[in-house]
């Protein structure tokens, strides 16, 4: 029976295919490091490696390249932003997990009949709102807003709206502005990771503390929080990586001058900003270009080292602290401290932090809406080749193309890798650990470094167009797809696979007919998240799919994917660069906001359906 023996061959070749998909991350990371290093070597050689690292002047007219001031700026701003954003993020997460009420309810004890009816009516609406879910969505929305929008918010609201007054020189830019914008941007990352870490602490610790007479605040801050230590540290480390790699928003508020960060209003030029500012004007093959690549290389290594250090955070919440409490050592101290003051204060601090987060989001959203909605018109959105007004239509097309091409390539590769990791590989094997490390590494690479790699590699192959941009974006979203798909596959109960094998089906058949369809909601989530990432990405695309000047893009040229094109975010960035079309910039920002919101909504409904089924 030919069917029988060919299954074996199919099985083996499929397995090989999946292994290749999984190894792609390894190739990608090595490829990126090697290519950028290769492009940096001329600079390292001519300028001298240590001169490059520790030189303080950057002047490309006479080829002096030193990144010390920029390196310091990056580090200082990052640390400050992580402190600020970290504190707010962590406390917000604590609030969300422990004190965020699920349901709102107004209590009215008065006698007024109509007030009673009114309150009852309000309550019937309030009952429908799950505050915790709303908070969750707020965080997700903040995470999804493109950085260009944060940049605009930074300039208009922070700098020109407030910091300018505080600055004796009346400029407003610099270290402080950059810190604030960066901390707003990393709050979502830190909050969601901290939330996960807190929720992973076994409930017994919390309950044990309560049973011993602790107040809730005491139990949270003295038991659960320390137990979640390692997860929180990981969250902070990842926040550092994210802050270091941020380009667009930072560029708009940092001032752009190469200085040491001596004062809060000193204009600075973090590493990412220098790369982005000068990449457009380098002569290919020049020392200047190599110096920028070298800057990118230093940034890459720095971020990778930090991201990888997460692995060394000890995972010990089989807590010594926890057992101490349960064993009664600390219990003595804990019981006699009646209404611990500090935890109570911290609790209110948590509420304030959560409020700050809500305000920040409200501010950003209102900023965009108030300024953006007046500029939305049918012509603006979908107008054709009319050169009179700027139209978003070409940007929509380019964005759409990039989404489609990227997904077409990344989905099979990512799903294949996830299938290998979850269905074929032995869970503890070294090979799996190595692959996972590389996937994590890939997810930490700053987007501007992806842009540089895309410029060095994909643009040479495809030219500067949608294809180069798509391939670059594949690398960006691959980790997301692999992770989400893996989670989804893991959630498929083993019994389903057993049932399928028991009926005589082969492994391939089981995967494709039973496991993947069951995992579909998770995969759908991965797709939507990826689309969100693609839409909000700018730095990686400017040097690959191109940045067409606002005035000159047209629908006809955008229809051809071999032409350069700007996506919506890049379009918006070019408005900033030109500065001549603020209204259109706000309009674009509003469109981006709506898209982000809709995508989040879709994910929410997918998850809801999944929960219902269970």
């Amino acid at each position: 029976m030919t069917k029988v023996s060919s299954t074996k061959a199919k099985d083996t070749s499929a397995k090989i295919l999946f292994i290749v998909c999984a190894c792609l991350s390894i190739f990608a990371v090595f490829g990126i490091i090697c290519y950028i290093l290769a492009a940096s070597i001329p600079a390292f050689r001519e300028v001298g490696f240590f001169q490059f690292l520790f030189g303080t002047r950057w002047n490309h007219i006479n080829d002096t390249y030193g990144i010390l001031a920029m390196l310091c700026s990056t580090l200082v701003v990052t640390v400050l932003a992580v402190i600020l954003g970290g504190i707010i993020g962590i406390f917000t997460a604590i609030f969300m997990v422990f004190w965020c009420p699920d349901k709102l309810h107004i209590r009215y004890r008065g006698k007024n009949k109509s007030m009673q009816n009114f309150v009852a009516w309000m309550n019937s609406w309030l009952r429908k709102i799950n505050l915790r879910t709303i908070f969750d969505q707020i965080i997700k929305l903040l995470a999804g807003i493109p950085s260009v929008i944060y940049g605009y918010f930074g300039i208009i609201v922070l700098v020109q709206g407030g910091l300018v007054q505080m600055d004796p020189m009346h400029r407003g830019f610099g270290v402080l502005a950059t810190c604030i914008v960066l901390s707003i941007m990393i709050i979502p990352t830190i909050t969601s990771l901290t939330k996960n870490a807190l929720e992973a602490v076994p409930a017994q610790y919390f309950e044990g503390a309560l049973a011993m007479g602790n107040t809730k605040a005491q139990a949270v801050f003295r038991v659960v929080f320390p137990a979640a230590r390692s997860g929180i540290i990981s969250a902070l480390i990842l926040g550092i990586g994210r802050a270091m790699g941020e380009t667009m928003a930072v560029q708009m508020v940092s001032g752009g001058s190469v200085n040491f960060p001596v004062g809060i209003f000193t204009p600075i030029c973090p590493l990412t900003v220098k790369i982005n500012a000068e990449m457009g004007e380098v002569v290919p093959g020049s020392l200047h270009e190599s110096a920028l690549m070298a800057t990118g290389f230093v940034l890459l290594i720095l971020v990778l080292l930090i991201t990888l250090s997460v692995n060394f955070v000890p995972k010990e919440f089989k807590g010594k602290k926890g057992t101490k409490v349960l064993q009664g050592d600390e219990a003595g101290k804990v019981v006699y401290r009646k209404r611990g003051l500090i935890p109570e204060i911290l609790k209110y601090f948590g509420m304030i932090c959560a409020a700050v987060v809500v305000i920040a989001l409200a501010a950003v959203i209102l900023f965009i809406c108030i300024n953006g909605i007046p500029n939305i018109s049918w012509n603006f959105l979908f107008g054709g080749d009319s050169y009179d007004g700027h139209s978003l239509a070409p940007a929509f097309l380019t964005t759409f193309y990039i989404i489609i091409f990227t997904l077409l390539i990344a989905l099979p590769l990512g799903i294949g890798a996830a299938i290998f990791l979850n269905e074929y590989a032995k869970p503890g094997s070294k090979f799996v650990k190595v692959i996972r490390t590389f996937i994590d590494t890939l997810s930490g690479v700053p987007s501007i470094v992806f842009g540089l790699f895309g410029y060095l590699f994909f643009v040479q192959i495809f030219g500067s167009n949608v294809f180069a941009g798509s391939f670059t974006m594949v690398l960006v979203i691959l980790p997301t797809i692999i992770r989400s798909t893996e989670e989804a596959l893991r959630a498929v109960p083993m019994e389903l696979r057993e049932a399928s094998y028991g009926l005589g089906a082969s492994k391939i058949r089981t995967i494709f007919k039973v496991v993947l369809p069951s995992a579909f909601p998770g995969i759908a989530t991965a797709i939507v998240l990826s689309v969100g990432r693609i839409v909000s990405e700018s730095a990686a695309l400017i040097y690959t799919s191109g940045m067409i000047a606002v005035a000159s893009s047209s629908v006809s040229s955008a229809l051809d994917p071999t032409n350069m094109g700007s996506t919506l975010t890049v379009f918006m960035y070019s408005f900033f660069a030109e500065g001549l079309a603020f209204d259109e910039a706000y309009g674009t920002a509003f469109v981006l906001l709506v898209i982000t919101f809709v995508l989040n909504l879709i994910v929410y409904f997918i998850q809801k359906r999944v929960k219902k089924k269970r």
């Binding site: 389903l496 057993e498 399928s500 009926l503 005589g504 369809p517 069951s518 089924k613």
Partner: protein
């Protein structure tokens, strides 16, 4: 080729050298194909000197059993005694467990299923399994039942319709489900889901049906229905059942085997085992001294 040869299959032909088809194929080292099983003998399953190791730990010790055709053989014993492990050797489902090693011979339909080159697909087509927790696929009732036949190449809607109807009738579910074939199987109650799983296993026409504590997750009424079903089914199919419930074993099985700590202590006609057990441990278990 008719996948659903009934029990009165043609006996394997012998050629001049006195070797049967199947021995010839074994010599040629081809993968054992579907035709190969021969259930004409008295015993459906013969287990000879089987040891099973999970890594260093020995879970089964020198098991020797014969399970007769068209009868229900029950395996009883306290938790951890190895009965689930043993039943999973019969369709090689414990291949899925890391570090599992089987020594010895298990003959099903005259074929040693642990020999090299055996086609697992074919084996599992002939030896079906029903699990402890009902595990219907998240598909329609129809697709659940059609899954097995589709695996083996049956695509025509007419044939599939026939198989679905036949399997559901065998499982005594046709009247209940004939109007909701295209609805999701997950909407059924626990007992219905389990009977659906039985129908699904029957759809590929197995000669042997393995049931690993099939009613432990179900309510008494569903349990009763399934026990009734087993008594019907044994006319066409050999049933091997693991059960924690001694009364169930006493009710429906023809042969009972008692296991303890990886060894089979005693096996015999159910009536005899329950009224006059030969070994003291058997008696202590049956009378509830330990559980």
């Amino acid at each position: 080729m008719n996948l659903f040869k009934k029990k009165d299959a043609v006996a394997p032909t012998e050629d001049a050298a006195g070797e049967t088809e199947q021995k010839k194929q074994k010599k040629e080292k081809k993968p054992v194909t579907l035709d190969i099983f021969d259930f004409s003998g008295e015993n459906a399953i013969t287990i000879k000197d089987v040891d099973l190791f999970y890594g260093e730990f020995q879970a089964l010790k020198k098991i020797n059993m014969k399970m007769p055709k068209y009868q229900i053989t029950a395996m009883i014993g306290p938790s951890g005694c190895g009965k689930s492990t043993l039943i999973k050797t019969l369709n090689r489902m414990n291949d899925l467990v890391e570090g599992c090693r089987v020594v010895g011979k298990i003959e099903i339909g005259g074929v040693d299923i642990y020999q090299k080159g055996i086609d697992l697909s074919a084996l599992r087509k002939n030896v079906g399994m029903v699990f402890q927790k009902p595990n219907p696929f998240p598909m329609s009732v129809y697709d659940n039942i059609a899954y097995g036949p589709r695996t083996f190449g049956i695509r025509k809607k007419g044939e599939l319709d026939e198989i679905v109807e036949r399997s559901l009738k065998q499982a005594a579910m046709w009247d209940e489900l004939k109007d909701r074939l295209n609805k999701s199987a997950l909407g059924l109650s626990g007992g219905q889901q389990q009977r659906l799983c039985i129908a699904r296993a029957l759809a590929v026409g197995p000669q042997i049906l393995l049931m690993d504590e099939p009613t432990s997750a179900l309510d008494p009424i569903s349990t009763g229905k399934i026990e009734e079903l087993c008594e019907e089914l044994k006319n066409d199919v050999t049933i091997v059942m693991v059960t924690h419930n001694m009364q169930q074993a006493a009710r429906i099985s023809d042969k009972t085997a008692f296991f303890l700590l990886g060894e089979m202590i005693e096996m015999g006609d159910t009536e005899q085992v329950f009224s006059e057990p030969k070994h003291p441990e058997t008696e202590r278990y049956i009378t509830g001294r330990f559980g």
